[in-house]
């Protein structure tokens, strides 16, 4: 056990007007459609973002030059209710293959009746990433949760 202080997780919730099966299917099976391609780690522009479904599946980007850059692995696969996968890009912006030094993304799907689903995302354990020990929360001016939730609120309003 380490005594590293926890770093606050990033959390977000989005409620969408689709059944729970569809929410899970799109989240896992169509990640290339919804993950903004400008967010990537590899040197080349992104051709596609791939999530190989099932426990142990890889999460990675494939660049336009064909190179692949790993992001993480699927740890828990419980369709359509829960998904846990890792983010193993560390503080040096490199993939760290050691699962003990992985941050985790816990995604929970809850049906609100037959045609609406709430999806809660929690990206946590940043302190496990190499470089995490030196963390200082210098994010100021309303970053963090408030920014994230503002984004969701806006997207919900835009969609309705």
């Amino acid at each position: 056990m380490t005594t590293t202080a926890p770093i606050p997780p990033i959390t977000g919730t989005v409620t969408i007007a689709v059944p729970i099966d569809q929410a899970f299917r799109v989240f896992t099976g169509s990640i290339n459609s919804w993950w903004p391609h400008e967010f990537h780690i590899g040197g080349a522009d992104v051709a596609e973002v791939v999530l190989q479904v099932g426990v142990g599946g890889r999460w990675f980007e494939r660049g336009v030059d064909g190179t692949e850059c790993d992001w993480g692995r699927i740890r828990v696969w419980e369709p359509p209710h829960r998904l846990v996968f890792t983010w193993q890009i560390n503080g040096s912006w490199q993939f760290d293959p050691d699962p003990a030094r992985a941050s985790g993304i816990d995604v929970r799907f809850t049906a609100n009746g037959s045609a609406e689903t709430t999806v809660e995302v929690e990206h946590r354990y940043f302190e496990r990433l190499e470089g995490g020990q030196a963390i200082h929360d210098t994010i100021r001016g309303g970053g963090g949760w408030s920014l994230l939730l503002d984004g969701f609120a806006k997207s919900v309003v835009d969609q309705s």
């Binding site: 689709v18 989240f27 169509s30 780690i41 470089g131 309303g142």
Partner: protein
């Protein structure tokens, strides 16, 4: 707005994630002036996401080596945009396709 809420500032940050750059190099790669780049760098530096070192007669900027701070700040914006994208795509998707089978690669 967080430190990376501004799209131009985020673009500068993402270039620095790929390696150290001078102000001039950043200005050459982005559709903004050198003084504008400097101004954004100052904000990023004050916020602890970026550090600078003198190299000869110019300054080279790079991400703070206490990198998880910077990484987390970046991911905060990533998740915000990604879930907005998920929302849009999920509600536009057809309802009839079967769930994916384990082991199948889907992109």
């Amino acid at each position: 707005m967080g430190l990376l809420g501004d799209p131009t500032r985020r673009a500068i940050f993402e270039r620095l994630a790929r390696g150290p750059r001078s102000v001039q190099q950043l200005a050459d790669q982005l559709p903004i002036s050198r003084p504008a780049v400097s101004q954004h760098l100052r904000v990023l530096k004050d916020g602890g996401l970026v550090v600078s070192n003198a190299e000869g007669n110019r300054r080279i900027y790079s991400l703070n080596p206490e990198g998880v701070t910077a990484l987390r700040a970046w991911l905060n914006g990533v998740w915000s945009d990604a879930l907005a994208g998920f929302h849009k795509v999920a509600e536009a998707a057809p309802e009839t396709a079967p769930p994916p089978e384990p082991g199948q690669e889907i992109s």
